[in-house]
Subunit: 302 residues, 2 copies
């Protein structure tokens, strides 16, 4: 069977060491683009653009392939895979970073194979703004969604603004939104971001849910209620994958689909945090996704 | 027409000076019980137990009466009404307290008139735990809901636990819940509170919505989306009034009614913050409440 890829995603692929008071997982599969792709793969075929080093375990590669993620755009180069070592304290709110080694990701130059250039939905995960822009210009997708991180907001805001001016949507967390727009009011932040470019803005608030802004439409959702969290790593990227995955498979950007997509994002984030690494995303079947979606939708039906 | 009072509420009645970067309102009507009652009065007849000083403006008294709030349990005594002076900075998140003068509230001894003792729904607003207990023992209501504040959690926890053991429900904010239960996880807090007494726990998270716990049922809601806030004072008490008001008028405590009640609480909080003092609560009609409720319900329908 030949897959027609609906989402092209890029960003980091990493090995993570994650420490919690209860367990430490060493050099497990991580990275924003990894979480995003595995989450989105529950919705439609995904092709990934990224880079790993020679140390990247074959088992991880096979895991991504087993989810029908196209890896022809993933370069395997000499050197070490990006490595991230962090620790959560008992309250799981503050994360302490022990090490961020970019390794091969530092010199990553995303190259989109010709066969993937017409993929309609493009996700520009965390990447230097100049590289995001290059991907965007190479692909000219139907709909482009971008993410960013505090580091690029602080150090490369003009370049970031150039990408923002050309994308259709932006997903970011509340801290990033406030930092980017210099306002504590998330509604003002969304409005500023919309003025700068994307008409769709999704602000993620972790355990406090999310708010979506599309033109004049505003839509808030609470987090899916979970009594405990095993590992919060990747929750936001899994959220992005569920959100964009549903938009892409629906091939529509309108209020009804956006509401559903935000709900799918919410539940994919909830699956992610219930286990270490990407285990929460790969141990579930489509039926589990639909069952939790229906449960959540029913719950919110007042 | 003779009103049958459905809710008996108690707590503080105050004069507030509220400063924001844009406007200062001096000695306006405030106090937790005031906000609660005015909010609940949109749902069912409310009788208030409280105390004011001789300086309490007649206009405020008449305003409460105009909302059919029974004031026979409000003592008007020699001395000054409780006074609260606070200031919000530009971000409206941190409130700085300039003065808290308890005045006549310091020696308040709640007395419930005989005619009101059989009121079925009792709201024990912020009050010394011993006085909450006295009210509870004098009334023996069908359903008692309590609130508290950080001050009593810090200084009178054993007395607070005695009240908690006897009520049916507790409403508190996220900071109070974490302080009371010594856990950052709100699900753990709710579970601890339920072990200590009330089977219904509502945790308010301000602009991040709320979570309701009733036996094993968990129900989260986002805040009603508002692009700007004029004065956050009283939002939580207005929330409580809408929540309890709908429960009381429905005369049922079950999942469906609790979901509706949490939504009514949410929208009453949103009306409150759209104007200074109690203006956001008294400038609206029942139709406005129902219209916003329907809008909110429709919005959350995925």
């Amino acid at each position: 069977m030949r897959w027609v890829y609906v989402i092209l995603g890029t960003g980091s692929i990493a090995l993570d060491t994650t420490r919690t008071p209860f367990k430490t997982m060493k050099r497990v599969l991580g990275g924003a683009a990894t979480y995003f792709s595995l989450s989105a793969s529950h919705f439609c075929p995904v092709a990934l653009i990224g880079v790993v080093g020679k140390d990247f375990p074959q088992a991880h590669w096979k895991l991504l392939e087993s989810r029908h993620i196209d890896l022809q755009g993933v370069q395997r180069v000499k050197g070490k895979t990006m490595f991230f070592d962090s620790e959560f304290s008992y309250d799981y709110y503050a994360r302490k970073t022990h090490a961020t080694e970019l390794n091969v990701y530092a010199h990553f130059d995303p190259v989109v194979p010709d066969s993937l250039r017409k993929t309609p939905f493009l996700y520009l995960g965390t990447l230097e703004p100049a590289k995001q822009l290059k991907m965007l210009e190479n692909c000219r997708p139907r709909f482009a969604l971008m993410d960013t991180i505090e580091f690029y907001i602080e150090t490369q805001k003009p370049a970031l603004r150039k990408v923002m001016a050309k994308v259709d949507g932006m997903v970011l967390n509340d801290i990033e939104a406030r930092m980017l727009c210099k306002s504590p009011n998330l509604f003002e932040c969304a409005s500023t971001i919309q003025e700068w470019g994307p008409e769709l803005v999704v602000i993620k608030k972790g355990e406090n849910g999310s708010i979506l802004f599309y033109k004049d439409f505003v839509f808030p959702l609470p987090a899916f209620p979970l009594s405990s969290v095993v590992d919060p790593t990747g929750a936001g990227d899994s959220f992005g994958g569920g959100f964009f995955g549903h938009l892409a498979r629906s091939n529509k950007v309108e209020e009804k689909t956006l509401k559903e997509a935000l709900a799918y994002g919410t539940i994919m984030g909830s699956f992610c945090v219930q286990d270490f690494s990407v285990n929460g995303l790969v141990s579930i079947a489509s039926e589990d996704v639909e069952a939790r979606f229906n449960h959540y939708r029913e719950k919110l039906h007042i």
